[in-house]
């Protein structure tokens, strides 16, 4: 057992961090609101870096790495709060080679969702609809949707659909199970990155902000909030890494259990840490200007994708 990152994994993580910080600084991320969260040139840069082809075997023109590495990549994307249907496109690329290198932006929807609210409809090339029978492909022109002009997460536009067509089958029941599991782990990884980013944002603020003649970060009433945030992020990160490793090597555990534990811990950490970051910013935290609310809103959104904290807690209960 060596549950620390290998040198290659450290390099991969640092490389993606540089790319994400360079191409998606928060000013740029905020600007993406105007284009529905996705700028195709930036999307292509992510694709060129291998973000969507990471787990595709080298023989099939992929990068040939595993879920452990993909989790590291998505953790970094989460730290920078990169918008767009990243997880959906990565898992879709396992079925659709066109998604792997940036040619298609793919959205995803559970057929049983109610109400039928779908993300990113105006920027995707394809919507994959999941039900227990399989994976179904629908093109946006086959869908009639009403835009909801005040999306909760400003970087994730949403439409309300009256109905979803059956679509063309692109995966069987086994594929849908696999996609859900992979999507759960990658979403959890993204949430862990967000939980870390808001912790760092809050730490920087409380070091500099002075009241009563001292940095507020010296007060235990404030620093203990930060300690809890760092702890939640760290514990959730361990769960996410374990899920990645377990999916790659099922002999070390149950991938379903590991994925659900990761989503429970990461979903909880992301929401609570974002709220903690807002709280220690005081009134400023309630302004549009401080980034913490964007993390909170994404964390709320991602709790509705690939199973909520409640859903995965139920899954785990039934495995007891």
């Amino acid at each position: 057992m060596d549950f620390e990152l290998t040198t290659d994994q450290v390099d991969l993580k640092e490389g993606v961090r540089k790319l994400a910080e360079g191409r998606f600084p928060m000013e740029r991320v905020r600007e993406l609101e105007a284009v529905g969260g996705v700028d195709r040139a930036l999307w292509q840069e992510l694709a060129d870096a291998g973000v969507f082809a990471l787990r595709i075997p080298e023989g099939a023109d992929g990068v040939g790495l595993g879920m452990a590495e993909a989790a590291l990549v998505f953790e970094e994307l989460g730290r920078s709060l990169v918008p767009g249907p990243l997880v959906a496109t990565e898992v879709a690329a396992q079925l659709l080679p066109t998604a792997a290198w940036g040619a298609e932006v793919v959205g995803m929807l559970e057929r049983s969702s109610y109400p039928l609210v779908v993300e990113h409809l105006s920027v995707i090339d394809r919507l994959l609809v999941l039900d227990n029978a399989g994976v179904w492909s629908v093109t946006p022109d086959q869908i009639e949707g009403t835009p909801l002009d005040r999306p909760t997460d400003p970087l994730t536009p949403v439409h309300l659909l009256a109905s979803v067509p059956q679509g063309e089958q692109v995966g069987d029941a086994g594929a849908v199970e696999r996609l859900r599991l992979e999507g759960t782990i990658l979403t959890a990884a993204f949430l862990v990155g967000s939980a870390q980013a808001v912790t760092e944002l809050a730490v920087e603020y409380v070091k500099g902000r002075e009241q009563f003649g001292r940095p507020i970060g010296s007060f235990q009433a404030v620093k203990h909030i930060l300690a809890d945030m760092a702890t939640r992020a760290s514990v959730a990160q361990a769960a996410v890494y374990a899920a990645g490793v377990t999916l790659d090597d099922p002999e070390v555990g149950d991938p379903v259990r590991a994925a659900s534990a990761a989503k429970v811990m990461a979903g909880d950490a992301a929401v609570r840490n974002a709220k903690g970051a807002i709280q220690v910013h005081g009134g400023m935290g309630f302004t549009w200007e401080v980034d913490a609310h964007l993390h909170l809103k994404r964390a709320w959104l991602l709790d509705t994708q690939f199973g909520s904290v409640d859903h995965h807690a139920e899954v785990l209960a039934h495995l007891l």
Binding site: E4, A227, A236, D249, A261
Partner: protein, 395 residues
């Protein structure tokens, strides 16, 4: 990142399992929890069994008489011992986890030769004389004084939270040898034999109803200067050599026990017709996630220790989250068991007693070995680099 046993770890696990399955059936049932003399006999007999099989001091260095196991082997030892129901370290705790490792790092050749084999064989039980009524989280403000008189220190004062003090042979003592120096600079670390005149041991009754803790009242106890570990007034540094030791693996057995408690609570929920209660189910699932995450974090800490020799602040992160989780687990047990929670005995055939026992125990987890508030200070100041609060205590 990889979670598989290496070939040698797998061999170690197999060998340990084989030995445990051979030896455990012959172990008598544990004595009643409140019979400390019997617990001493039971725990030290198990320690001797471990010693004879080469498993005593599993993580102690070979030159200290230990097995010199890697951190991963140490974790396997704790995991297999817990899963297979081996006796817990019990009264040997302070000697094996604090006193012994301190002597290995800082003791004289004579101290090592006399004490280390006796700890490993279960012949000597140690207790801890660190905390005082007015020195808890602010341990360095301790006031028990030691005055040099020829080749002895004459010790007077009071110690508290001394686990197993009434059955111990030796006490690791922190005393103030220079009352005028800054508080961290006037402390000395001594080995105090518990049979000396002037030591009055009074058990304290905990909320558990047990008397595991003691108070020590010390009235001019004469401890030979040759029992000093490290230099005079250098005791704070000596203490810190092993304070971090406890936070690495000390809670692994408990954490694995908690996993078993969660599974057992799920079965009780089904028997008590509470499984339809989504609130109960989700909290069970959430606790299961917390425990799996803590187990993963332990493996990350152990892997870091293998690479760097230290787990850094991972122990504080683990301890803080473990304590929070353990409180929630106890609370859920009480909620779920309802009127079966009214006794520490098993009620009927429910095997409910262990859960109420656990709920009471859980309250100590956020206090012992550094309160959760102190852990938060450590994480905030040392991991996140936040400024310290001004110190209000003397110098």
């Amino acid at each position: 990142m990889d979670l598989r046993d290496t070939e040698s770890d797998a061999a170690f696990r197999a060998e340990l399992r084989a030995w445990l399955s051979e030896v455990l059936p012959g172990i008598p049932p544990p004595p009643p929890e409140h019979d400390f003399e019997a617990r001493r006999v039971y725990d030290t007999a198990w320690q001797r069994t471990l010693f004879d099989a080469g498993y005593a001091g599993i993580n102690w260095p070979i030159e200290g008489g230990g097995r010199g196991a890697t951190p991963a082997e140490h974790l396997i030892f704790l995991e297999e011992s817990e899963r297979m129901g081996a006796p817990y370290v019990g009264v040997n705790f302070v000697g094996l986890l604090h006193g012994g490792p301190t002597l290995i790092a800082e003791g004289t050749p004579e101290q090592k030769a006399f004490h280390l084999p006796a700890i490993l064989k279960g012949e000597h039980i140690w207790c801890q004389g660190f905390s005082e009524p007015s020195a808890g989280s602010d341990l360095a403000s301790l006031r028990t004084k030691a005055v040099r008189d020829g080749d002895h220190y004459i010790i007077s004062g009071q110690k508290i939270w001394t686990s197993f003090g009434h059955v111990a042979d030796y006490c690791e003592m922190l005393v103030r040898t220079d009352p005028d120096a800054p508080k961290h600079k006037g402390i000395t670390w001594l080995i105090m034999p518990m049979h000396l005149d002037g030591i009055d041991v009074r058990p304290l009754r905990t909320i558990h109803g047990s008397t595991e803790f003691c108070e020590l009242f010390l009235d001019e106890v004469a401890v030979p200067v040759s029992n000093r570990v490290g230099d005079e007034n250098d005791g704070w540094r000596v203490t810190n050599v092993t304070l971090s030791f406890e936070r690495g693996t000390a809670f692994v057995s408990e954490m694995l026990q908690s996993m078993a408690l969660v599974s057992h609570l799920a079965s009780l929920a089904k028997r008590l017709d509470r499984w339809d209660d989504a609130g109960i189910r989700r909290e069970l699932g959430h606790l299961s996630a917390d425990l799996d995450a803590l187990w993963a974090l332990t493996k990350r800490n152990i892997s870091l220790a293998t690479r760097t020799g230290t787990i850094g602040l991972g122990g504080s992160v683990f301890k803080l989250h473990y304590a929070e989780m353990r409180h929630r687990l106890g609370d859920l047990a009480v909620r779920l068991l309802e009127r079966a929670s009214l006794s520490l005995n098993d009620v009927g055939d429910l095997a409910s007693g262990r859960h109420i026992d656990g709920e009471i125990h859980s309250i100590s987890v956020s206090i012992a070995a550094g309160t959760s508030q102190i852990q938060r200070n450590i994480i905030a100041e040392r991991l996140l680099g936040l400024p310290r609060e001004p110190a209000w205590t003397s110098s």
